[in-house]
């Protein structure tokens, strides 16, 4: 990548040559060395940044959930082989760990964490939010999942079992939330708009649409 192009991404170019932060300079140093050695290709890096920043995001996951809500056969495939079912919708990553989809029911609530670092289903949810990467979440989700859910404003009934899924480098989890009441007859697209990222990590439920009968 030419340094001209690279600089375009940095702040401050209107004000002259502000020196980037020491951390940003370390990234530039490593990147430029690896590119020079031919170990890595600048265009491929740009494509990754672009994909994760703008193209891939929780919307992909929301479409998977909406399809499962409207198509029983798809849902069955999703729960038995999530990797293939997600590919079926057209989301194919070149860097794709195995996926497992876990279904929320009236009696079971699923919560996803990565206790080791921050393994996250990037392909369907984009980049992980800051709280997912925090040590507080990573350590507490396993020990006190109900407390964590309370912090997110989600209080479950006593009778609901909480299942915590610890992601790894090879295995990522996506929660299939419960379809909210009041959405009978809705199409896939309208349903997908209701599905939040948090509901697919398991720290929230999908809220019933405004104006829907309870």
């Amino acid at each position: 990548m030419s340094s001209d192009h690279d600089h375009h991404h940095d702040h401050g170019h209107e004000h002259g040559q502000d020196v980037p932060s020491p951390t940003a300079l370390r990234v530039k140093a490593l990147e430029s060395l690896l590119i020079e050695k031919g170990l890595i290709d600048a265009a491929a890096l740009d494509a990754i940044v672009d994909a994760y920043e703008t193209k891939i995001g929780p919307r992909n996951g929301a479409r998977v959930v909406a399809r499962a809500w409207t198509d029983a056969a798809y849902k069955a495939r999703l729960l038995t082989d999530a990797t293939a079912a997600i590919e079926e919708i057209g989301f194919v990553g070149s860097d794709r760990p195995h996926m497992i989809v876990v279904e929320n029911t009236p009696t079971t609530h699923n919560l996803v964490v990565c206790t080791l670092c921050s393994c996250y289903p990037w392909l369907v949810l984009g980049l992980p939010p800051v709280w997912y990467k925090s040590s507080a979440y990573r350590s507490r989700a396993v020990i006190d999942p109900r407390g964590v859910l309370n912090d997110f404003g989600l209080t479950l009934d006593e009778g609901v079992a909480v299942q915590v899924w610890d992601s790894t480098a090879e295995l990522r989890y996506l929660v299939l939330p419960e379809r909210p009441a009041g959405t009978e007859g809705w199409g896939e697209e309208a349903l997908a708009d209701l599905v939040s990222r948090d509901s697919m990590v398991g720290v929230a439920k999908v809220a019933a649409p405004a104006g829907a009968a309870p």
Binding site: D4, Q17, L39, D95, Y132, Y137
Partner: protein
């Protein structure tokens, strides 16, 4: 544990922040690409990053990509993809280039 605050100008979607600064996206892409090309495995990456995060102790996630970069340097160095002195010298060279490039000119490394 509530929704994190957004910094001014922070890239985000309707659900929250994506990258706080461009270098974070660059560091992210470097690790993804090196792994895709097989210079290290997903497991090696998870173990290295996990160790760095553990050493860093309590962290609310806001320094996450700094730890990410430490892990990336550690793994590229241990895999022999680059060397510490080369890396340090190159970092200095970039700083120098920024300081000495006149306003309006693209920043380029001097011929070494």
């Amino acid at each position: 544990m509530n929704q994190p605050e957004l910094f001014p100008g922070q890239p985000h979607d309707s659900d929250g922040p994506v990258f706080a600064e461009p270098w974070q996206a660059q560091a992210f892409a470097l690790a993804v690409r090196l792994r895709q090309q097989g210079y290290f495995t997903a497991t090696e990456w998870a173990e290295t990053l996990g160790a760095v995060l553990r050493d860093a102790g309590d962290d609310d996630g806001s320094h996450y990509y700094e730890h990410w970069l430490v892990a990336l340097e550690r793994l590229t160095l241990s895999k022999g993809l680059t060397e510490r002195t080369t890396l340090d010298r190159r970092t200095d060279a970039w700083e120098d280039a920024y300081r000495h490039t006149p306003h309006g000119k693209p920043v380029e490394l001097r011929t070494r």
